[in-house]
Subunit: 355 residues, 2 copies
DNA sequence: TTGAAAGCGCTAACAC
DNA sequence: GTGTTAGCGCTTTCAA
């Protein structure tokens, strides 16, 4: 089919293009004109060209969510939450995956070209270059994740320090005394803050020995490899704190491959509380960082900024909540539960404990 | 930051906007002009407005991937494959999630408005309404999935009949004699063709008794619920064929909750061969429908059609491959393997057998 | 090599 | 209530 323009509609209806436009957009027009124009549009199969309309109006009604790794379910969860808010306000959400193609700097520049009215960014690394690009872009931005103090941007962040404290306190309470932290790449934003959070959390337990290692990625495969390095050593920890659920799952697989039982021989915990935690056995204890809530708030902040561009920058921190499942129970408690009864028929989760 | 236009760049550089445009786009221009304009653009922080450029050029350099349920990892896999091809050709890929917001008809209409140069569609249901919308849209389309015969559109499809035959033959070979098919919603395209495939496949085994049930969704939760209905009955099957991996995982959980052991008491298989199959224990036997390949081919077909709009419609069918893991082995074979040695350190998969 | 000007398709003054 | 016209920001003839 060939594209039909408003000029052809106007011609067909025998009115001016202005009248056609008005009739189509619900502006003031006579009933007769509206009828003629709508009939013409329907017969011709007219759909207004979004590009021309955007150019004229200066708004695209498109918002972008830019994320490095859409393969991680936690970002899908965020996107779903964002989509819900955004589409309710008449915007379309487009996803820009920064992972496979260009760096997030390019993405910011690209989105600054004007095909979106605003963007939500989940950067894995916050470089000076990125901050410069963000400062320069004319497009409203909300950043999901930590930014340097003093940066004047709308931000939504998780509370890594509390998250790690919840996990560490829980493991110590369950009797663990030698905890290994398997982080993602240490130069990423989540990597940095989760490491700092872990280090802070363990100072409260001076008798517990600890160590840290970086996985090459926040993925199952990288978590597996890193956990193998930890577990192959001669001093085997009795608990692994993973920087996210994917790494945690990799760690569980690594432990099993070495003939270890989780949680009897070693406890494992994750972060993000993705759906995966309930898919594996034992269920993976995790900290819910409020992905859904963070996505929702980010979308609301963005809409608010678009409505009022000069408003002050807001920073919202979402509180984490520990969700205990089988992977971190003490030996005694674990034996009190039959593994195959862990599944709850509705949630597929074992239990939830607010943090 | 306020948006800067090419007019301001031209003014700053002391040249006409035509020269500015030429200098910026690598057209013919004197070295001096280029230098002045580039300097001006850099100082002013100019980025060309994509909307205006698109209106002028008639192309957006954007492609869309429209999918109902991005929560299903198989679609993420497809998207990744598409993104790879598309970005190599200088296009941006935007994701339109049709699930949460509007129907796919609305999405097609919306994308027909012109902010994308083409779209790849994974419709869950192919209605007459959708076909009409597809026939009318001026935007090139490639459909992932089955279309009615005679529809003249580029299409990439999986081979459900072969896929189901691979699974059923395998289960029968492993000694299963009472197979329950847990489908997704029967009115969806995958639901229809997987059901038909199953029915065809079992005719080759007249001694095997079978039955079918629809889950409400292609999700873990829906699979769990449907499997419970199957397993709670008095005649318990010795194998469950799930219409996708998520349903299969739900079925494994359901079996475990009833105290059944997989695969000893009951075998379970999935479809799609997503990463999840290697995450759970036992590993889920699944049929790889070639999501990566289908995504790649779809992207190539779309690019080809954009380059040559009048070319004949192509239909490409991608061959499936059975991947056997622990969930479907016969009792004897399963006992030959220690469950915690299933994991391969690189692939996290147990074994792969081409179909 | 450069500048003036047209025009992509649309909406919104503005005058009638 | 309707038509004429300007113009969103850009690229590209067309003359010079």
């Amino acid at each position: 089919m060939v594209r039909v323009t408003i000029t052809q509609v106007a011609e067909y209806a025998g009115v001016s293009i202005a009248s056609a436009s008005r009739a189509l957009n619900g502006q003031i027009a006579s009933a007769e004109t509206i009828a003629k124009v709508q009939h013409a549009a329907a017969t011709l199969g007219y759909v207004a060209d979004a590009t021309a309309r955007s150019l004229k109006l200066g708004r695209t009604h498109q918002l972008a969510y830019a994320v490095a790794d859409i393969g991680n379910p936690v970002y899908v969860e965020m996107m779903t939450a964002i989509e819900r808010v955004v589409s309710a306000s008449g915007y379309r959400l487009v996803l820009s995956s920064t992972g496979t193609s260009s760096s997030s700097v390019d993405v910011v520049r690209d989105l600054g070209r004007g095909y979106v009215d605003g963007m939500i960014l989940s950067p894995l690394r916050v470089t000076d270059e990125l901050l410069a690009a963000l400062a320069k872009t004319p497009t409203p931005v909300v950043v999901l994740g930590r930014l340097p103090d003093g940066t004047s941007l709308d931000t939504v962040r998780a509370d890594s320090v509390t998250a790690m404290r919840l996990v560490v306190d829980h493991l110590v309470a369950e009797g663990r005394r030698d905890i290994a932290f398997v982080n993602g790449p240490g130069d990423t934003t989540p990597g940095t803050f989760r490491r700092d959070g872990f280090n802070t959390a363990v100072t409260a337990h001076p008798l517990v020995s600890t160590r840290s290692i970086d996985a090459d990625d926040f993925t199952i495969a990288a978590g597996y490899a890193a956990a193998r390095r930890v577990l192959d050593g001669d001093r085997r920890p009795d608990a692994i704190v993973a920087a996210n659920d994917l790494i945690g799952i990799g760690a569980i697989r690594a432990a099993e491959d070495l003939g270890l039982t989780v949680p009897d021989d070693i406890a494992v915990t994750g972060i993000d509380n993705t759906e995966l935690t309930g898919v594996i056995r034992p269920g993976l204890t995790s900290v819910d960082l409020g992905a859904d809530e963070r996505g929702r708030v980010a979308a609301e902040l963005l809409l608010a900024r678009i409505a009022e561009p000069s408003r002050a920058a807001h920073t919202v921190t979402v509180a984490p909540a520990l969700v205990v499942r089988g992977s971190s129970l003490s030996r005694a408690r674990a034996q009190g539960r039959a593994p195959h009864h862990e599944t709850d028929s509705t949630e597929l989760d074992e239990e939830r404990a607010a943090g």
